[in-house]
């Protein structure tokens, strides 16, 4: 067996051309950070510098490779060549079925690669400064690089199995990182919560994978016509009916979407994301704003052909409709909650949830390009916001309640400037990045064939977004200082990433303006050009106008309520004064956690109690009964032998004893006896073999 393994050569069917094209080296991008993680896992605690430099170095190499890959795809696109290249290799082989792994390089993955590695790198650099005084520095960087590697793996994987593996590693690292300060009970609880909640989604995801494999009998997305996302497989899936009038494609799409929802905190499963803010701020920035939560969205984008297969009414399918509705409602819902939070990071967390809702809705209504565009821009400015928040917290001595801050714009000018840029981008003020991407989503929503409601929901969400961001900013940076102790600006190593990200937050949007929809064209790999006439398209300008008006209205409202007058730390919130009951509800996040606690948790708790009770009383009772019976029997026995058969009984006992001795001799603890039995057995077996089996 070993021989064959030794003999068997390992030759993945590489893409054509020389071995060292970027496509064939693509696996290095996730492999390097993972390697760094492994190495720094072996490092001793005091080797801080080495571990951080390992992580940063490996990720920067990955960034370099990602840029090369991006350029490769870009050139292919501009040359009009096919932009998708895959490398597949067989991992295991059970009889006829292969378990294949592989990686794909296409515009989607290229863009994601660059985004993830770039933002990740910035956050690594940032966290070298932020975690400086933590004694588990090396562990932190080990986890970070592991996460980065897994995330990149998710991005490039061409096999749904590989994607799922990396997906799970991502989940694990997020668990580890949320619970990084595990000595804080809240952090530990949050970590558990995140893990369990995402599991719920992942179960469905796994079911989807299995079903997909069962239907298409391949794990690869693209495999020169044989992949599961390629037309003929999709045809088969469509032909295959499932329950509730869904096709198999629809059902699988829904299952996969459940996984995505779990990972990127869509409505029923969003509860873990705000609690995840217990982790260190760079983690929140990296995992719970920029990359990991985007994994869900990315997953949907990756399997979009499946989702889109067999478009029903109004160019949408059942699964896409579900995606849209879930996304839209999440957007509004989270935005509402965010209005009434006081923890600076929680506000951002809820805004992340709502933005993810936007992305989902964008995917559902506008297609891959729209959603992904918002994903990219959002990744940049939300990472910026989180790191800004981190720097604020750092400056205010780990203070997280915005009511105890204020007037920081003079204390931390750099942080303020960058934060403001991020806030404007998030709220979608014209010419800022968020404006264009959100606008794309709104436009898609306005043209959606199924229903108009999502459009209004999203507009309302935009208003609320502007409102709560203004509230937060004015609480934190304006007004007179309510913080005890003087806040100081963060070190340069933390500011540099902020500045870089801020620049992107301002400018990135121009890649996808209606006038020059470069990004969309790139993702769909269709040619494009600059053409300002596109602004003149029907309903585009009015739409942009409305959205910017809405945004400005939101900002104005926020400013009027919070910015103009600077409330004291302990006096009630402006909203609380005006609309108390609504405030209470929002403040308690619509009681979702309580709801789950009252239903699911209570349910399991109940059954646990039942089982416990059964143990205690029923089974325990039976046992007690049996023992009592035997007890009685024994007493009776003693009575008998005391009175009648004393001698006989003793004799019997001796007999039994000697019999036991005979048996015990088998196991007398002497090695040789055991050896003997062994040899005897061999003899018998061999004899049997010779007599009956020998003829064969």
């Amino acid at each position: 067996m070993l021989m064959q393994e030794a003999g068997a050569p390992f030759n993945p069917q590489f893409a054509d051309g020389p071995l060292f094209t970027i496509v064939n080296l693509l696996w290095l991008i996730p492999a390097l950070p993972m390697l760094a993680a492994g190495l720094s896992a072996l490092l001793k605690q005091p080797r801080r510098k080495l571990s951080s430099s390992l992580a940063v170095g490996s990720l920067s190499i990955s960034l370099l490779l990602s840029l090369i890959a991006f350029g490769h795809v870009l050139s292919a696109w501009s040359a009009g060549a096919p932009t998708r290249e895959v490398v597949n290799l067989t991992w295991l082989q059970f009889g006829s079925t292969n378990v294949d792994l592989g990686w794909v390089l296409d515009p989607l993955s290229a863009v994601m690669l660059v985004m993830v590695s770039f933002v990740g790198l910035l956050i690594f650099i940032y966290s070298t400064g932020y975690m400086e005084h933590d004694e588990n520095y090396t562990r932190f960087f080990c986890f970070l690089s592991l996460f980065a590697g897994a995330m990149l793996g998710v991005v490039i994987s061409n096999s749904i199995l590989l994607l799922f593996m990396c997906w799970e590693i991502v989940g694990l690292t997020s668990y580890l990182l949320i619970g990084f300060w595990y000595h804080k009970p809240s952090a530990a609880a949050a970590a558990k919560k995140a893990f369990v909640t995402t599991r719920v989604g992942d179960i469905f995801f796994l079911l989807g994978i299995v079903w997909l494999f069962a239907q298409t009998s391949t794990l690869l997305f693209y495999n020169s016509g044989a992949g599961s996302l390629e037309p003929n497989a999709l045809q088969r899936l469509l032909a295959q009916p499932a329950a509730l009038g869904l096709t198999a494609a629809g059902a699988i799409g829904l299952l996969i979407f459940a996984g995505a929802a779990g990972k990127s905190g869509q409505l029923p499963l969003h509860v873990w994301l705000p609690d995840a803010m217990e982790g260190p701020t760079p983690v929140s920035a990296l995992i719970h704003a920029a990359t990991m939560v985007a994994a869900g969205v990315y997953l949907i984008a990756r399997v979009y052909p499946l989702m889109q297969a067999g478009a029903l009414t109004g160019g949408s399918t059942a699964s896409l409709t579900v995606v849209t509705w879930v996304g839209a409602s999440t957007a509004l819902f989270a935005a509402l909650i965010a209005v009434a939070q006081d923890d600076i990071k929680r506000i951002l967390a809820y805004s992340t949830v709502s933005q993810l809702g936007y992305m989902m809705a964008g995917l559902g209504m506008g297609g891959v390009a729209v959603g992904m565009f918002h994903l990219i821009t959002h990744a940049f400015f939300k990472a910026l916001l989180f790191m800004g928040a981190g720097s604020v917290i750092h400056g205010c001595h780990e203070e997280q309640d915005i009511r105890n801050m204020g007037g920081l714009k003079s204390d931390m000018p750099w942080t303020f400037a960058t934060y403001a840029a991020g806030m404007l981008a998030l709220t979608g003020v014209p010419i800022f990045a968020g404006f264009w991407s959100k606008d794309g989503i709104l436009e898609a929503a306005s043209h959606w064939g199924v229903a108009k409601t999502p459009y209004y929901i999203l507009v309302l969400g935009a208003l609320l977004t502007a409102f709560y961001m203004t509230r937060q900013v004015s609480y934190v940076f304006f007004g007179n200082s309510r913080s005890q102790g003087h806040a100081q600006e963060s070190p340069r190593v933390m500011l540099a990433p902020l500045v870089i990200l801020a620049i992107f937050a301002v400018t990135l949007g121009f890649l996808g303006t209606p006038a020059w929809p470069w990004f969309q064209a790139f993702l769909n790999s269709t040619p494009t050009s600059v053409d300002f006439a596109r602004f003149g398209e029907a309903g585009l300008l009015p739409l942009m106008l409305t959205s910017s008006l809405v945004v400005l209205a939101g900002i104005g409202l926020g400013w009027w309520l919070y910015g103009s007058k600077s409330p004291a730390a302990n006096d009630p919130d402006a909203l609380e004064k005006s609309a108390k009951p609504a405030w209470i509800v929002l403040r308690n996040k619509f009681y979702i956690d309580e709801l789950y606690g009252a239903t699911l948790v209570a349910f399991f708790w109940f059954w646990a109690r039942v089982a416990d009770w059964l143990d205690r009383h029923i089974w325990g009772g039976i046992v007690a009964l049996v023992s009592a019976l035997f007890n009685a029997f024994a007493r009776f026995n003693r009575f008998l032998d005391a009175n009648w058969v004393d001698g006989g009984f003793d004799k019997g006992c001796e007999e039994l004893y000697s019999g036991g001795g005979l048996l015990a001799r088998v196991q007398n603890g002497r090695v040789q006896t055991y050896l003997r039995l062994l040899a005897l057995a061999v003899v018998v077996l061999a004899a049997i073999l010779l007599i009956w089996g020998g003829r064969a």
């Binding site: 196991q667 007398n668 603890g669 002497r670 090695v671 040789q672 055991y674 050896l675 003997r676 040899a679």
Partner: protein, 103 residues
């Protein structure tokens, strides 16, 4: 009697001798010696089959023998080490007295 059969017979006898030693001697070290003999009998079998087999060019049998020699060396080292440490605890190597290996 063909040569192969002769070799096999020698190996069988050697194996039996080794087994007998392992089963009857009281001294743990001698039990190990018996086991070594058994191993060598197996090696002899392997080499004989290699030599008289259809294609000795494949070297399989001899490789197997060489590997098993190497493994036997390791086995002897560990086994004797165990015997010595046992001897340290119970000042004897008499297997009839070392009977702690029971439930």
């Amino acid at each position: 009697m063909t040569p192969l059969a002769a070799y096999l017979m020698v190996a069988a006898i050697l194996f039996a001798i080794g087994l007998a030693g392992a089963l009857t001697r009281r001294n743990a070290i001698l039990v190990l010696i018996g086991i070594e003999l058994m191993l060598n009998a197996a090696n002899l079998n392997l080499v004989a089959f290699w030599h008289y087999g259809p294609n000795p060019g494949a070297l399989t049998g001899m490789m197997f023998a060489i590997f098993s020699i190497a493994v036997a060396a390791a086995e002897a080292a560990v086994g004797l080490g165990l015997v010595i440490s046992i001897y340290r605890h119970t000042r004897t190597t008499d297997l009839d007295q070392i009977n702690r290996m029971k439930g």
